[in-house]
């Protein structure tokens, strides 16, 4: 009984595609957070009244899904495929171990709570 947390930083406009792809694989629950961040592309240049200014952090979404170890690769590939455009700024996926899961309503633990 072990679980993984998948944190995917994605383009804001890709959220619906990612949700649909995850749901198609049977992953219904997820948490979405508005975040700001930067990758190798760094920030973005925007137009001022005359000339430009640089914004160093871009708005992104972070999607968190907790899955059984066994399902992990399936969830990751669903996100990868649905979030990819091929352009810089597609984001990153982080995977880390989760010790336990507790369902607040019933107090169930572990794989009963996932």
């Amino acid at each position: 009984m072990s679980f993984k947390k998948i944190e995917a930083i994605i383009r804001s406009e890709k959220l619906e595609e990612v949700r649909i792809a995850l749901e198609a694989e049977g992953f219904v629950g997820m948490t979405v957070t508005e975040v700001k961040g930067r990758g190798t592309q760094k920030g973005i240049v925007l137009e001022w009244r005359a000339g430009e200014y640089r914004v160093e952090f871009l708005p992104k979404l972070k999607v968190e899904v907790i899955v059984d170890d066994f399902d992990c690769e399936r969830a990751i590939s669903a996100i990868e495929k649905s979030a990819r455009t091929g352009q810089p700024g597609d984001g990153k996926i982080f995977v880390s171990p989760v010790e336990n899961i507790i369902r607040v309503r019933t107090g169930e633990r572990g794989d009963k709570a996932i």
Binding site: G43, E47, W48
Partner: protein, 405 residues
């Protein structure tokens, strides 16, 4: 004889111009960082409160009261004593004197509010109020008297300023320059990004300014007549022409932003202000477009210079006002307004000379007096907010509130 139509138009125009001061607050607030949105709004709306009282107590009298040596109005209308429901034939023969007074009040309010764009995000609020009160007394009142007051020396010389290119925009734009020099850069300016908090707020403010400007320029005819309509039409035309020109220039450079177009519109409105009662719609197209190009490059040059005139009051209002005043000397036609004069392009080079002289005198006067006021206040009270207040943001640090929950 009081004329009902004239009075109604001047009252509506007054309300339009009063609206421009909060509109300016929104225009500016959208361009500052989110920690200073309320502080920036406060600068404009507190001036509406402060100068509305100052004008009634002594500002109007000092500007428009009985002339002393062409330099300043007398104290004969202190507390609006003698300013009543009857007309004052010298200023406006067909509306109550009180209507002329309150129309002028709206201008006295918005002019110092324009300056605030130079020192947003770092001004100490108490020092600011003192600066504005002294500035209105020692810069605005004399210049308004020189150009608009009966007996004023520049008025007698034949200087034309229909709605305030010189009295409003040059004084504000030049004083902004002096304030930016004295107060210094925002912390981190040029090193860390300063993201505008809310461009839609700025766009809303800009187009409310456009709307209010019909009162500003159209109302300056002080009557509901053909001249008011002419001023109304050239105002809209110059704003549109400048907005288009700004859009084209920024498109050539890279991309046409709505922030740029809105800025262009305001610059066109500034430039047409002194000319609005004297020029044709075709001249207005030229005036607006040229002003936009001048101010666009003035912003680029100012940015390179490192001077933190944060919202480019000098580039937009100073340069726009100077160009508008000079353009009045080129494009004015007696055919539009028989009480005006012909400009250089209509066979009278003398007017251009008078306009150029007026620009130089007013710019120099505004710069020197504003600079001295800023230095004196800075020495006694410090113009700047404390460093920690600036870091936290003036909304919380000076006003105890936040724009968003």
């Amino acid at each position: 004889m009081i004329n009902a139509g004239d009075t109604a138009w001047v009252l509506i125009s007054t309300a339009l111009v009063i609206m421009m001061t909060p509109a300016l607050g929104f225009f500016y607030a959208g361009m500052v960082r989110r920690k200073n949105i309320l502080s920036t709004l406060m600068l404009s709306v507190s001036i509406l409160a402060l100068i509305s009282v100052q004008w009634v107590l002594y500002g109007y009298s000092l500007s428009f009261g009985t002339d002393h040596a062409g330099l300043i109005g007398g104290l004969n209308w202190l507390g609006l004593n003698g300013v009543g429901q009857e007309a004052n034939a010298g200023y406006a023969a067909t509306i109550p004197h009180l209507a002329f007074m309150v129309f002028q009040l709206a201008f006295a309010v918005i002019t110092p509010a324009l300056i605030t764009g130079a020192f947003v995000e770092r001004i100490s609020f108490g020092s600011f109020l003192l600066y504005i009160l002294l500035w209105s007394t020692f810069v605005y009142a004399p210049v308004a008297h020189w150009v608009w007051g009966i007996g004023g020396w520049l008025r007698n010389m034949g200087a034309l300023d229909f709605a305030g290119g010189t009295v409003v925009h040059i004084t504000a734009g030049i004083s902004a320059l002096s304030m930016a020099m004295v107060i210094g850069k925002r912390k981190g300016y040029g090193k860390t990004p300063m993201e505008p908090s809310n461009i839609p707020l700025t766009v809303l403010g800009a187009f409310l300014l456009w709307f209010g400007w019909f009162g500003f320029n159209g109302g300056s005819a002080l009557a509901a007549n053909g001249l008011a309509v002419s001023a109304f039409v050239v105002t809209n035309t110059a704003a549109a022409s400048a907005a288009l020109a700004w859009m084209v220039v920024s498109w050539i450079h890279k991309r046409p932003s709505v922030l740029g177009l809105a800025t262009g519109a305001v610059v066109g409105l500034v430039a047409i202000t002194p000319a609005s009662g004297f020029v044709s719609p075709l001249s207005a197209i030229v005036i607006g477009a040229v002003a936009a190009v001048i101010s666009y490059y003035a912003i680029l040059i100012r940015t390179k210079s490192g001077l933190d005139d944060s919202l480019d009051v000098f580039a937009c209002h100073g340069m726009g006002g100077i160009f508008g005043a000079l353009a009045t000397g080129l494009f004015a036609e007696k055919a539009i307004n028989s009480a005006g004069a012909d400009g250089l392009f209509f066979g009278n080079p003398g007017l251009f000379g008078i306009q150029a002289f007026t620009v130089a005198v007013v710019a120099l006067f505004a710069f020197i007096v504003s600079f001295i006021l800023a230095k004196v206040i800075d020495a006694i009270f410090s113009l700047r907010a404390k460093e920690a207040e600036e870091n936290i943001g003036l909304d919380i640090a000076q006003h105890g509130e936040t724009a968003f929950s």
